[in-house]
Symmetry: C2
Subunit: 210 residues, 2 copies
């Protein structure tokens, strides 16, 4: 399917659609109207129709959306069936939390390996994922290409490690380091996870309420 | 300042404004036009003026915004000067990552304590924060009220622990458990951190690019 240019706000809503449709699917809902889907997500029916129209024709007048079909279409749009593979850089507390507790596979991503420098963790497995020394990064990626690098290293080494990932062919960096990455290579996608943005939104909402 | 009802999209942008203004401040920028601020954030000048108009009059025609003043105003709006205190529930990998590496204070929040059940960690300090047994939760909160509970427990106990937090007076829950919380008490604010939404947005963007 040829996609038109899609706004960042729509891209941000797609994973939420997927999450809500998954919940509906798991509770046995087979079809849903755009207004009911909107209500459960805090959006208007017309916003939902407009969002989805960026990607093609879904749903039927008077019937609504088939939950399972729409969920599958959105999974496709999100690239969940592209066979993306990820590696983790930095097997400290946060890296280990992701290795042991985060279900990469539920996002269609295979977590293949992690890299660190600490003798405490190199050579071990965490959550079934092997941890190698970061000196082996290029050698590993030459044999096992990965599309996503998960950056959970200390911020002081974030930029050099990110540059090595990109030179070794990684296309997207999931950046947990709270540092702006300055990559010279064009075309690399950086997705920053800003914990503070979320905490500040919570702070706003509880302060408002008072 | 009396605030009008503010949309969730604006609330989500406020922490980003704060982050960008902090960066500008640290690099010595004293004033900035709405169009220059917008450019650095991927927003239009009119969107920025409209967002900020929800909270009062900032900036001056032909001068722009005083970076430090606007940063201070947004900090106030975000409740960063309200003296919010947080406790962490669950000192596993993710809880420890937050205790040791996340700067709560930079969001105006004091992290006071953590709670767990494991004898490996109860009675210790991590990142300068004491870890108590969760049996002491109500006793602790009676003596040291906290406004924010950070939920990093296993998902199976997320709901009962959240209910205990709310009964003990916590007003906001920062939920990392990937579980929908079903709280009966009205007025509690839940801020969910969905790692998968972020990973799926990255998956979309690198798939698009291919």
């Amino acid at each position: 399917m040829k996609k038109q240019k899609v706004s960042s706000a729509v891209i941000r809503r797609l994973p939420r659609y997927f999450r809500h449709l998954t919940d509906l699917h798991l509770t046995g809902v087979e079809r849903i109207s755009s207004s009911a889907l909107g209500k459960s997500m805090g959006l208007t029916a017309s916003q939902i129709r407009q969002d989805l129209s960026c990607f093609g024709e879904f749903g039927q007048q008077g019937y609504g959306y088939n939950v399972d079909n729409l969920r599958g279409e959105i999974a496709d749009i999100l690239g969940m069936n592209k066979g993306h593979t990820a590696i983790i850089l930095g097997a400290g507390n946060l890296g280990r939390a992701l290795m042991e507790n985060f279900h990469f596979d539920r996002s269609g991503v295979a977590l293949a390996a992690a890299f660190d420098v600490s003798p405490d963790v190199v050579g071990q497995e965490r959550g079934g994922v092997p941890v190698y020394h970061v000196d082996k990064l290029e050698e590993y990626l030459a044999a096992h290409p990965a599309s996503i690098g998960v950056l959970t290293v200390p911020r002081g080494v974030a930029n050099p490690i990110a540059a090595r990932l990109v030179r070794a062919g990684v296309k997207g960096i999931w950046n947990f380091t709270n540092t702006e990455l300055n990559l010279k290579e064009p075309g690399v996608i950086i997705e920053n996870v800003h914990f503070a943005d979320s905490l500040l939104a919570l702070s706003y909402m509880i302060s408002e309420d008072a």
